[in-house]
Symmetry: D2
Subunit: 262 residues, 4 copies
């Protein structure tokens, strides 16, 4: 009997790319709010998701540096279960309610890649870095500066800078929308390829979400032109606040919003 939440399924279930949920994450975030051209960003929305006419292309670019664990002290395997990731979230509407849609996402290892796919994030491999602060670093303060970048296949995809201004008790309206994603897996046989094997809109359900050490300031953000990627089509036409914070949360379930396979 083969075991494992994902491939490779194996006799002991130890070889699988990721253990089954619940999954627990803790890390640091650098995020910059921005507006992309709403005429262009509308094109990244799937069937059933509408643009948010009120916020007009409002988005957040998020760089994460985090550690994962599940039931078996996976944090003691740091080479496998730490990750750095980047994603963008675009304001959108699902059945009349505000949501955040993830068109593009990048992570730097295979365990994070498959966790993303299984939850509906369209992950590719990327190299992601962000300025850090340590217990022995100067304390965060007005004017502290952070930077972050993501590249894939040797091309710079996004570059962010944040200048902290003040500590905040909350995220001030950022990162407060439920995220909607699309679980997608194609068919391969030539005769069946006009439809996909899996295509469902889902809402991953986060639990025990904690944001702490929140600092808000000014952001700068650029998505340089690249080949073989389309992130640059969503390039900022206006940039807003920058945020730096730490977070932890768990994920163990998702709500299935609709099945798009038909």
């Amino acid at each position: 009997m083969l075991k494992g939440f994902v491939v490779p399924r194996s006799p002991l279930g130890a070889a699988a790319l990721t253990p089954p949920p619940p999954w627990h994450f803790a890390g640091d975030v650098l995020a910059v709010e921005y507006w992309s051209d709403p005429d262009l960003s509308t094109d990244v929305l799937p069937e059933g998701i509408e643009p948010d006419a009120k916020t007009k292309g409002h988005s957040v670019a998020i760089f994460m540096d985090y550690q994962f664990t599940a039931r078996n002290e996976e944090h003691l395997d740091p080479g496998r279960y730490q990750s750095r990731g980047f994603l963008v979230l675009l304001d959108a509407i699902w059945q009349g309610a505000p949501v955040a849609w993830c068109p593009y996402a990048y992570v730097d290892n295979d365990a994070a890649l498959i966790r993303g796919w299984v939850c509906g994030y369209p992950e590719k491999l990327g190299s992601v870095h962000q300025t850090r602060t340590f217990a022995a670093s100067p304390p965060l303060a007005n004017n502290s500066r952070f930077a972050a970048c993501v590249s894939a296949h040797g091309q710079l995809l996004a570059q962010a800078h944040i200048t902290l201004r003040e500590r905040s008790d909350d995220l001030a309206g950022l990162l407060d929308r439920p995220i909607v994603t699309r679980r997608y897996f194609p068919r391969f046989s030539a005769g069946g390829r006009q439809t996909s094997a899996v295509d469902e809109l889902v809402r991953p359900i986060s639990e025990n979400m904690v944001f702490t050490n929140i600092w808000i300031g000014e952001g700068a953000l650029a998505f340089p032109e690249t080949l073989g990627e389309e992130l640059d089509i969503l390039a900022p036409i206006k940039v807003g606040r920058g945020v730096r914070c730490s977070f932890s949360y768990s994920i163990a379930d998702c709500a299935i919003l609709s099945d798009l396979t038909v």
Copy 2:
């Protein structure tokens, strides 16, 4: 309308991890035939695949160094579309017929990873290397030596050495079985997780298969003990021939053998 054979689906279809089939491959192979303990290797077979009692654990460890292209000169994007991979194929029986089953596979980039998954290979990321020969190198000859290795997350998974003996017109019974794989993608919602979203046995259909520059000799092969992998359970108890050759082939379709989702 979002386009793309796989994620991320995007307005232009240029961001997807891999273009749609047909897929064309050309590269070099180092392969070592071996026998694993049949009492143990039986455990990696899924429902519907039986051990091959006649060959008793006979397997091949394959290291590949190759280039991919599809319809748009993808070979001109070498950072994205070259790859090095490792897999093992175990002799097995499907409905009375001899097949080769792939329990474990590793590649070194995300495009190859998803191509593997879509075809049913249970790919993980690994770092794979093999000795090469160039047009300006000494010609292959009796006693020419090659080595190959694969590691993942900083652990050595397999190490092979081959000493060439003589050129051959064919692969002498190696790599001649149809490969059977398992396309697998889990559900994520807590209520549905006891079954998978995709679980089908398939036979990828290769076309225009060419093997050339075939040399056959002696092999050596080891699968060191590792944590978080189970390849070492299939470690060689006996090692046979080693092969070095070049190959090209295309893949555009698969036959669906059975649906295991029920």
Copy 3:
């Protein structure tokens, strides 16, 4: 006029692998104290450095995860100026005084590699990971567990585990010896190769050294056998305390202890 502290020297001096000192570091450390076989560890000492007969092979294995900056906000280029490193320090005696000698060191990028060489650390590239803790993680406590590992060229070189026991105001006698290193650069011309171009024992001078969030507990440490490395010859025959702490310090100078080029 070409500029740059190191290669490549260039018109603007911006291309050099690292800016000139002073260099400032901040990061986290996991360290495990251990004893190697003194009959073997003596062999890694250069001329002029003696074994410490009192401590008999006492050593520390150190995993670092840190950020670098110099005069130009290099911390805002995190892909280039963050690094993870591993080194071992062996108790030794120089001119009658206790020192720590560094026989082997690994880092994960080129800027850190050359900084190490210039200071006399014999750096190779490696992949280094350690368990982290974030502001939103559970606070450190008795029984908190950390792990760290280093690999190079796909081989695991060292693996450590630490179980924290109690917070400490100081490092309790660990990491308190001045470090002695050897700056070494060979000649290349065939006629001159019996001597080196640079070969000097130095003592890098650290300033503003801060250790904070110090926790001390139990350590476990293994140096698996590897090919093409000799770290395993220094494998622990006994393991002592484990430490986790954060640090910051600067380095701007070194004392030259002796010239070994003659």
Copy 4:
């Protein structure tokens, strides 16, 4: 007695980053000839090297994909001793004679990095890729296309395309100048840092140089703008021929042209 041509020097001499010369290389090259702005390229020449007024910024951008070996079958350790590299060579004059000067060079592993430095190439780590051809690929022909790229720290530094036109018996005047490099290693002690420890112009001496499978055609080449690099200052203002060939050669010595340390 510690052994090793370079660091880390060790009891057995097996840990050193590279074995001593003679060094043997075999591989493939993609090269594009181009002209940079001679007013700018003059600035990358060190004392004692003059611009070549006759060729006015004529240069070659070279992408290499190669295997290294020395005395101990290092080609059987492919993870450590294969490498992909990129360098530019600028026409220049030394003491009245035409030479090629290497201002910038990139390789993808530490063994190649230190070999470069020891020979005077100012190597940094980069990720280098080039289109390949295999024994089972279509034969090279008029209109065959190749591409190559190099990136470092997630930034694209150079991108080349070559369209083959015809096979050639020789390199048609490309890559025929002796290369001059600068071995450079700084001092570190604050008091001595105004001079370097090693600073010599050298001419690496190649032996048994073979070029084969030479194809010549048209080239395209771009050096995009980057931060922390100065290659883009040497960007092509005109592009010439493109070449694809295989090569092998050995290097065991260098001629010291002048000592610049004073």
